[in-house]
């Protein structure tokens, strides 16, 4: 286990079966890691966009209420529609949580890949992060 950055064609990344021995394998691994980093940035933006979209699709009063917190309006005058929006929000947040788990796992995977101290992998992660940020963040303002 190296403790400093090295240029090498050999590495073991994350899993026991992901062993790299050749330049082509290393190029492929760098590509995979790059895509992971792009995906990570994309998920971050996608999560926010998903929440924003569901907020917009709901009626204005309800979305306002849910932004400020459900305890702001506890009159319960429209119980059926309230129940429906609540169910929708439950599903929405369940999906959001799953996306969050994926984001956490990919984030740690990328960190562990960098921890192999392989310079090619590291450059792949940095480039992927840059490309992901460059592509994904303009999408955030587009509605």
């Amino acid at each position: 286990m190296p403790m400093h950055f090295i240029f090498s064609d050999e590495a073991v990344l994350l899993f026991d079966f992901w062993r790299v021995h050749s330049p082509t394998g290393m190029a492929l691994s760098v590509l995979v890691v790059l895509l992971l980093a792009v995906l990570y940035e994309g998920i971050k933006v996608g999560k926010a966009k998903l929440l924003h979209k569901t907020l917009e699709s709901l009626p204005a009063t309800n979305s306002q209420q849910f932004i400020l917190g459900p305890d702001q309006d506890s009159t319960g005058s429209r119980s059926t529609s309230d129940n429906r929006t609540r169910l929708r929000w439950f599903l929405c947040y369940f999906g959001q949580s799953l996306v969050h788990v994926i984001q956490v796992v990919i984030g740690y995977f990328v960190m562990l890949a960098v921890m192999s101290y392989n310079t090619w992998i590291f450059l792949g992660v940095v480039l992927g992060s840059a490309v992901g940020y460059y592509l994904a963040y303009p999408l955030l303002n587009m509605t």
Binding site: M1, P2, M3, I6, S8, E10, A11, V12, L14, F15, D16, W18, R19, V20, H21, K44, V45, K47, A48, L51, H52, L55, F66, I67, L68, G69, P70, W89, Y93, F94, Q96, S97, L98, H100, V101, V104, V105, G107, Y108, V110, M111, L112, M115, S116, L140
Partner: protein, 196 residues
């Protein structure tokens, strides 16, 4: 301890004892001539550090030297503890966001009465920033930030053990915490967030 560490993981059984002794006595550095399996046995201490994911509950070191998991029961306890820690981390992140928004709202209210006259707006905002620096919410945020940094590093180090159970605990705890605490969350993308 190293010997036990070598025995308990099947993926290292092909390595001989001579190899292991080499790794104990010599400082860890890279040998280009040896195969990739050599890089498994490195490490600068008595502890053996795996470099790929595995599922096992024997001789797993958890952050501190006293915390060594050897039985399924201990692994279950560690799983629950890590799960709760990851949940707490998500809750802390969202609570800090809420606190920040609350203090920002109070700043806005402070500067609300001012815009009537022409020149006094700038002075008033400077004043509120100065108050903000030494205010209780900011100090609280700082303390919570310290706790958040420590916990996030702990979670990172736990994931770095490559133990499958503990990694699942971290991920599941993060998901559950996000699910439970994000009901009041507004649309905010944390740009500075990186690996957790």
């Amino acid at each position: 301890m190293n010997h036990m560490g070598m025995n308990h993981m099947e993926m290292h059984h092909h390595m001989g004892m001579n190899h292991t002794d080499d790794n104990i006595t010599m400082p860890p550095h890279h040998h280009p001539t040896t195969s990739a399996s050599h890089s498994h046995g490195g490490g600068d201490s008595m502890m053996m550090m795996p470099m790929t994911f595995y599922f096992d509950f024997k001789n797993v070191n958890l952050l501190f030297s006293g915390l060594v998991i050897n039985t399924p029961g201990e692994m279950a306890g560690a799983f629950v503890a890590v799960f709760l820690l990851a949940m707490f981390y998500e809750g802390l992140k969202i609570a800090r966001e809420g606190l920040l928004r609350k203090s920002q709202v109070s700043i806005r209210y402070n500067s609300m009465p001012v815009p009537g006259p022409n020149g006094t707006i700038l002075m008033e905002t400077h004043k509120t920033v100065g108050q903000q620096m030494l205010s209780f919410p900011h100090l609280l945020q700082t303390v919570l930030h310290i706790i958040q940094v420590v916990i996030s590093y702990f979670l990172m180090l736990i994931f770095m053990t490559y133990n499958g159970y503990l990694c699942i605990a971290v991920a599941a705890g993060a998901g559950t915490g996000y699910f439970l605490f994000s009901w009041k969350k507004a649309v905010v993308v944390d740009i500075t967030e990186h690996c957790h």
